[in-house]
Amino acid sequence: MSLAVGDGRFVSLVGPSGSGKSSLLRAVIGLQQPLSGTVETNVAPAQVGILFQDDALLPWKTSRDNVALGLTFNGMERSKALAEAEAWLDRLDLAGFGDRFPRQLSGGQRKRVALAQVLAMRPKLILMDEPFASLDAIVRARVVKDVVALVEHESISVLLVTHDLEEAISLSDEVYLLSQGPRARITQRYPVPIPRPRDPVDSRTHPAFAPLYAKLWADLSREVDHRAEAA
């Protein structure tokens, strides 16, 4: 399979469960060795961030310490890292929550802390593994909106894995469809002709949205049916 994420591009990968979407991300960030083939990136490993499905914050650290963690790993002085962390919490509407522990935050707030944790590293590429799946609709819309704004502003490339087609289309510049696993491959690439800057909610009413959604839906259903027949 071959897939490229251009500079500052938002790319989504959709596909049925078990097609290996998460494994792909894990291979890119080096948590997992690909069985064959190679992963090439033109950015240093330290410039790749990942946002997991769970927020995976350290429960015994305050949100400020959680955000500062990656910075100190990369040699930043602790006091400077904490100041930087505070600034990122401010940008993500979490001013005043720096002293809270993850258990004392709501799901949406935790997601924002996790986002601040990744953004503080000033990544060139962020991998996202269905990071919004656990949030309820309203919170999710708000977090997603902020993510899009920040990513556009910082011109960060994103590779998002999801099985939510609406989310994929409304956020991305390109959507790739992955076939049913095992031995999944990319079956098709769909450019999304919705202009930027974008509002993820408004882009759902863009005239290009509905036809693309219908097409993706049909293609994805065919993949799943295909599998059902083979079984």
Partner: protein, 253 residues
Amino acid sequence: MLLDPRYTWVRQLAAFTVLLAIWELAGRAGMLNPMYVPNPSRIGAALIELFSDGRIWPHLDATFSAALGGLALGIAVGILLGVVAALVPFIAELLEPVMTVLNAIPRVILAPLFVIWLGIGLASKVALSFILVAVLIFFTVFTGIRQVDRRLVERVITLGGDRWALVRHVYLPSVTAWVLSNLKIAVGFAFTGACVGEFVAATRGLGYLLSFAQSTYNAALMFALILLILVVVLVIFGVAERLEKYLLRWNRV
């Protein structure tokens, strides 16, 4: 007032007082044999006597030294062995069956052996406290480390943390949490070890005094000592709880 949850302690205290009063009155009415069940006032007097003539201090000192020494050693060695076994499979293979056996038997049966090996002094009591605590802490840490949340490990790695960062930010805090959640049980074990060791063979200690009280059929002294040990352990429980609350403050919602 009568059912207000804020005054639970008042109701408990009242019930306890009433019970003591009934006990005292029943004793004075000759319904209880003081040979077996002395009046609360007699027990109180025995307790005061222990302190007023200063006789109790060397015994308290002996039991405290044995229990706290065994507790500290047991926690240290339990953590060390637990961490090593969790990280080195070869060590786990050797250690786990031994620990499982030690965990299954009532470890106090080792008390006479420790007396033969280490004499009737402090060392044999420390050893018994130690073995009781160490096995408990070993399993706490060993199973705990193997159940460390993989997602946290991956989070730290993907943020650029090295092996030391993992130990410091993931493993150590996890281990601390498990050890603290078992700290009260460990305190109880430590005092069990010290007192049982003193029953078996000793010249000092609360356990020794208890067995002395038994051999002289002094029920009042016995009740007084049981009460004393109860209070001592409760005080240490209070300290342990404070420590746990502070160090695990992140765990409260």
